[in-house]
Subunit: 142 residues, 3 copies
């Protein structure tokens, strides 16, 4: 993992090496950059991936696993969960024929080529909490 | 709807409550933040959604409707249309098996979990206008 | 192509005219804005498109071509390759039935409506280089 920070330290590009774990690498980058609230964009490719659909009745993620894919899109954020900076990332992945699948980035995604961009939000970080009607910890909406 | 603005007031995270209308909630957020020109990123999930493909011959949007989906990606902007701040948002949505559909966010999208990020562009907002060869109001390209 | 820069010259919206080449237009915009390191977001529609899946064994892009599509998502960056500013852009495209394909933006994409957003990273631009284990020129990850 390598960070390419801006002069003012409030944004950065990040590259992962082939084979690095996606979410671990991005968490290390956010820690190195000192970002507790930030937006995140990602493109590149993954050697393998796992993405989830949150089943609102079962209250759990149903995973979809892939082999080598393009990261056609990656959008996410850094905020606070359980007292620690936490990355929430959604991915759109495409295969050999271009067909796209999408969902919540889960454990087990491994970088092939990874180009990320973080931009910090100066100010209080949103804090993930339990709210009525949801099993997930989210930013309160009121 | 709740905004989490940056210290300089030029960017913000936004959360919607379960059941809130997506485009209404984002327009309320942009108004509360005072943003007339801004970029927008969205992830989360929707209880139901409607997205459109613009048919260049019929000059209208053909809608695709879904039930509960992940917002695998949401990218958009705020600019001026008919004298008012207007949000243009495109979505990639994925279902239980991960399969992705995409298009222009239409009326009738309802939040399940919604995490948005706005960043203002300081300076004159682009203004949507009719241009030769298009029925849509767009930012003039020359 | 028309740029709508921010007051501080560090970000801009960009519009392409119907029929303009996507990657050429975006490269012209980055040159006009003087951006050598920047993040990029794109939405809109394309009259036709070509996107690629990088085959890690053959070390080449396998193209998928389309007719008229929505740009459901476009994420990319500007950095330095072979001494020049270079745009790396990934797209998610959707058709009449909403079905999405994704991949690396290749030559031959032509704008229908194109709304882009660039934000410069003040500081040294990442430089694309050959690294062990990859045929592509990438930002070194260590």
């Amino acid at each position: 993992m390598k960070t390419y920070p801006s002069d003012d330290g409030r944004a950065a590009f990040v590259s992962l090496e082939r084979g690095e774990d996606l979410l671990e690498g991005l968490h290390h980058a956010a820690a190195e950059l000192g970002f507790e609230a930030a937006t995140l964009q990602v493109i590149g490719g993954l050697e393998k991936a796992s993405i989830g659909y949150y089943d609102p009745e079962a209250n759990e993620y149903l995973p979809t696993s892939t082999g080598h894919v393009e990261i056609a899109s990656g959008l996410g954020n850094v905020s606070i969960r359980d007292g620690e900076p936490f990355i929430h990332l959604h991915l759109v992945l495409s295969g050999r024929d271009g067909a796209a699948v999408g969902g919540h980035a889960m454990e087990g995604c491994r970088a092939y080529v990874l180009e990320a961009y973080f931009r910090a939000l100066s100010g209080p970080a949103p804090v993930r909490e339990k709210v009525p009607g949801l099993a997930l910890k989210v930013w309160p909406g009121s």
